[in-house]
């Protein structure tokens, strides 16, 4: 008489679980640093150890508060900030990590939690360099994707319209997970490309090499403009000084140099990308009047261009920051209407929605809310949109 039949039925009734229990996983990760059960054999010692550990954790090992700054600016600790302006604004953090947006990219700094800081890439590409810090896991989100980072360098790009993620590892290790719970571990040299539900991971040898992130090039201080006031072509030769300063994050100095060159001349002669850069320099050095004039001139000289739409978006943001809600709604909805598939489109739509609510424009708010939910039902302002529409 054998027991094989019973064993087989028993095995079939109690198979290995097919999915990892997310709660159990979180519980394990949360207590991974704790000592195992043997402490429970000496409850008194365990209690004393817990007290000591609590004191050490609470007082001595209190994680350093994380802060960020734009370029060479002052460190700030407020999260919930939208980041844009690409090379003009490398974002660096107090732990040495950097997040450099490439041209046209847009990101949102969601959280500065010292254990789990969160950045969301709304669109475009970014160079990310995270410095390892014990107990700190960075989350970089892009659509349905979440990249968990402990210490590494990589480049990632997100295209909302195609749900496309492109992540190239340079060094270190990351965990990339999608909404359905699938996850990949990538280390230096790997590249993950996802479009919708299709995902490939590729040896990077077959991919274009991505240059490592470099710290912003520091430019010697410029006391006075080193160019003749009648310099004709902006963007060539030594006339780029203000732009180099801007790329080093020294916006106020860049603005002073550009002002020395003659702002009116620049606004009249510079090409659209340079003009947009000038407006960004002024905006980031808190010269909102100058930025307003530059963006407005850009829109009049180069209508129906991508730069014009981006200028409208920034005009909307400046109006929002100045609590001019009606103007913010008007500029933001213009930015959205002019470039509904652009990298700023969703942020512009969200801003228009928020501004319309604050401006007391229910009809506009309803329209924006409908559009917003249709475009991004999980977006950061989705709850507001649902509230306006009375949706659950």
């Amino acid at each position: 008489m054998t027991l094989e039949h019973l064993a087989r039925r028993y095995r079939e009734a109690l198979p290995n679980p097919s999915k990892v229990d997310a709660q159990a996983r979180a519980r394990f990760l949360a207590s991974a640093d704790a000592e195992p059960r043997r402490w429970t054999r000496w409850p008194v010692v365990a209690m004393a150890a817990l007290v000591v550990a609590g004191v050490i954790t609470g007082v001595v090992l209190q994680p350093e508060q994380l802060q960020f700054r734009l370029g060479e600016g002052q460190f700030q600790s407020a999260a919930g900030v939208t980041l844009s302006a690409s090379a003009l604004m490398p974002v660096s953090f107090s732990d040495g990590s950097t997040f450099a947006l490439e041209q046209g990219a847009l990101a949102h700094l969601d959280s500065l939690d010292p254990r789990r800081p969160v950045l969301t890439l709304e669109g475009g590409a970014a160079q990310v360099a995270v410095k390892h810090h014990d107990g700190r896991v960075w989350l970089v989100r892009a659509g349905q994707w979440t990249v968990e980072v402990v210490g590494t360098r990589f480049r990632t790009a997100w295209t909302p319209s195609t749900q496309g993620l492109d992540l190239s590892m340079q060094e270190g290790l990351v965990r990339v997970s999608g909404r359905d719970g699938q996850a990949w571990l990538l280390s230096g040299g790997h590249r993950l490309i996802a479009t919708g539900d299709l995902v490939v991971v590729d040896p990077v040898e077959a991919s274009p090499v991505v240059e490592p992130v470099e710290a912003p090039r520091v430019v010697e201080p410029v006391e006075t403009p080193r160019v003749a006031p009648d310099a004709g072509v902006v963007g060539l030769g030594r006339v780029v000084d203000w732009r180099a300063l801007a790329r080093a994050g020294r916006f106020a100095e860049a603005n002073r140099v550009a002002t020395g060159l003659g702002l009116e001349r620049l606004r009249t002669t510079a090409a659209a990308p340079v003009l947009l850069e000038l407006g960004d320099v002024q905006r980031l050095s808190d010269d909102t009047t100058g930025a307003d004039a530059t963006y407005t001139r850009l829109r009049s000289r180069f209508p129906r261009t991508r730069q014009a739409s981006e200028a409208a978006f920034h005009l909307g943001r400046m109006a929002f920051d100045a609590t001019r809600w009606a103007a913010a709604e008007a500029w933001s909805s213009t930015a959205y209407d002019e470039d509904v598939t652009g990298p700023f489109a969703l942020e512009a739509l969200g801003l228009a929605l928020d501004s319309a609510v604050r401006a007391g424009q229910p009809a506009a708010a309803k329209l924006h809310a409908q559009r917003y939910l249709a475009r991004t039902p999980d977006g950061p302002r989705a709850a507001l949109a649902r509230r306006i529409l009375g949706a659950p």
Binding site: L6, A13, P17, S18, D21, F28, L29, E148, L185, V200
Partner: protein
């Protein structure tokens, strides 16, 4: 071939290949162990993802009750605590199984002692199941499982573990011996005794009849 290992993470020329389930590829084992030692959160998550099904399944088949979740947690913490005792990082699965068995052995003995204590209420070993991860199992299956549990509970801890490894986990005898930390001959002896005990008492559990061929239940 991708450096991510043997999973189908490849790019055919001009084609994009969707990944099959279990796309996550393990770190190089030695790298994983090194990262676990410094409590690298990514490595911890990967380690749990990779071995949780094995640990949970083994616990669930050897021991029922609410405490499976707690034991899984304890097992993983024990695994972390004993990282320094890994002799061969390339045999990680065997090590995970061995530590899980130690946890099981401790828990089974604790349950035995609890029976003699006035406040040591039964642990619910006989009536709590997570059958196939669903609640859809038939009444008949649940009844048979309860009966099988009662039958298994007649075995001493070491014999029960040997039986579980050999018949439920389907390990080779040498693997059973390694996991239990005993000789091959000892495993064989335990299995013979366990099977004899189970055969002699199987007839006392009518609910097991559907799970036993006619000649076995008679």
């Amino acid at each position: 071939m991708s450096r991510l290992g043997a999973s189908p993470l490849q790019v055919a020329v001009g084609h994009v290949i969707p990944l099959r389930p279990r796309p996550e590829t393990a770190l190089e084992v030695s790298d994983l162990v090194a990262r676990l030692r410094v409590r690298d959160p990514v490595a911890l998550g990967s380690f749990f993802d990779q071995y949780s099904p094995l640990v949970t399944g083994l616990l669930r088949r050897c021991l029922a009750g609410h405490e499976v979740a707690d034991l899984r947690q304890e097992t993983f913490l024990q695994l972390l605590a004993s990282l320094d005792r890994i002799r061969n990082p390339h045999r990680l699965e065997a090590w995970v199984r061995s530590v899980t068995l130690n946890t099981l052995r401790t828990e089974m003995r604790r349950r035995q002692w609890r029976r003699f204590l006035p406040f040591g209420a039964p642990s619910g070993e006989d009536d709590e199941f997570e059958i196939g991860g669903t609640d859809e199992a038939s009444h008949e299956t649940r009844a048979a499982l309860r009966a099988a549990r009662r039958l298994l509970s007649r075995l001493p801890t070491d014999e029960r573990l040997a039986f579980c490894l050999r018949h439920f986990e389907q390990l080779e005898l040498t693997e059973c011996a390694e996991a239990l930390g005993c000789s091959l001959a000892t495993v064989k002896r335990r299995l013979v005794r366990a099977e004899a005990t189970l055969r002699s008492h199987a007839g006392e559990e009518p609910a097991l009849a559907p799970w036993l061929p006619r000649e076995e239940s008679s």
